[in-house]
Symmetry: C2
Subunit: 207 residues, 2 copies
Amino acid sequence: MNQDSILRSLVANNLVSDPSGARGRLLREAARLFRDKGYERTTVRDLAAAVGIQSGSLFHHFRTKEEILKAVMVETIRLNTALMQAAVDSAPSSRDKLQALIRAELESINGQTGEAMAVLVFEWRSLSEESQAYVLELRDIYEQLWLDVLQALRREGVLVADPFVVRRMLTGALSWTVTWYRSGGGLTLDDLTQQVVAMMGLTTPER
Amino acid sequence: MNQDSILRSLVANNLVSDPSGARGRLLREAARLFRDKGYERTTVRDLAAAVGIQSGSLFHHFRTKEEILKAVMVETIRLNTALMQAAVDSAPSSRDKLQALIRAELESINGQTGEAMAVLVFEWRSLSEESQAYVLELRDIYEQLWLDVLQALRREGVLVADPFVVRRMLTGALSWTVTWYRSGGGLTLDDLTQQVVAMMGLTTPER
DNA sequence: TTACAAACCAAGCGCTTGCTTGGTATTGTC
DNA sequence: GACAATACCAAGCAAGCGCTTGGTTTGTAA
């Protein structure tokens, strides 16, 4: 399962909007605007202008502005959970699974879904409490993927630190790359992955 | 130089507002509100109410709402730069300096200045470009403290990864603790410091 | 062609926002 | 105790906000 086929299967099941459709295009533009200006500073007029319609017409597709933010977050988590699951499944050992997860998350944060991932991190408080609760549920599934792998590494004696603490430190370190990492600057995502793995003392033996 | 005397000397030089004064109290309340609700969602009426004055009276102390955000950030960086400097000066070896920096930053993030530190991380985009440039200058001084220590460790062969990358990963990992770490939950800041140092493969030999 | 729904526009309503204004207490200084 | 300077209040303005409304265009299928 490559990235494209994963996306297609989610679209087919109505879990993620078709990126080429009207709704998908709006969500992509919304993610970009929310990241660049912040949710509160982005007006419904900005959003409408970005896809070339009148501000009022937005409310034909979404009932409120917040529903747009929620949709951006929900669809991003759904997509990335599927991507992470695929990354885990394709790696043989726990060690490889972790490296695959790190690589995949760096890709999510700094690749095509990067804008939406940044929104997920920085605009959390702009969600209503009900929406937060729903997104949190989805996020728990996503996090469990990581914890399973880290706990396996712990059992195998490869990891000495607490899996929960490690995951949280990794979340911070990896999310933060969105503020400074730029591809094409000599440092590839593979390099970054290696550095992270190395920082954790998990370099593969043959290195 | 303990924390209190560092603060007092900054106050004496007008680099930081006296926390017990009117301005200092407002800035502390502002930091709290900005962190809890976000800068944009916090109104000048909220800020005024938090210190018991009318909204219009705020503009006797600050020309604009943004100036309040800027002041929160500037004073926080000034204070923390001084705290970090003291941490570095008090440690003998490079290894100890790094550990002291990590410990001090965790303290800043999760201690008394935690609210303001969170604002620094999450409300960056709400600053005007001019203010951003000014705060960036201050931040560079702060970051140089870290880089000096990390580069020394690199020269000593203790650190193999790129100091810039390491610092950025640390920034993310440590900042992120503000979203999950709560003191009194069995995990102390010293424990956390140890885990971070351990994750970097920098545990002291006698361990 | 007709029928109907989905997509969109033009206009604007009601409310909140940051900030201003003109005036009144309070405080510190000689 | 006179007198600025500082700190504050009460009221409200202009602008921008999310969202609504009534009506028009566009796409689709028989």
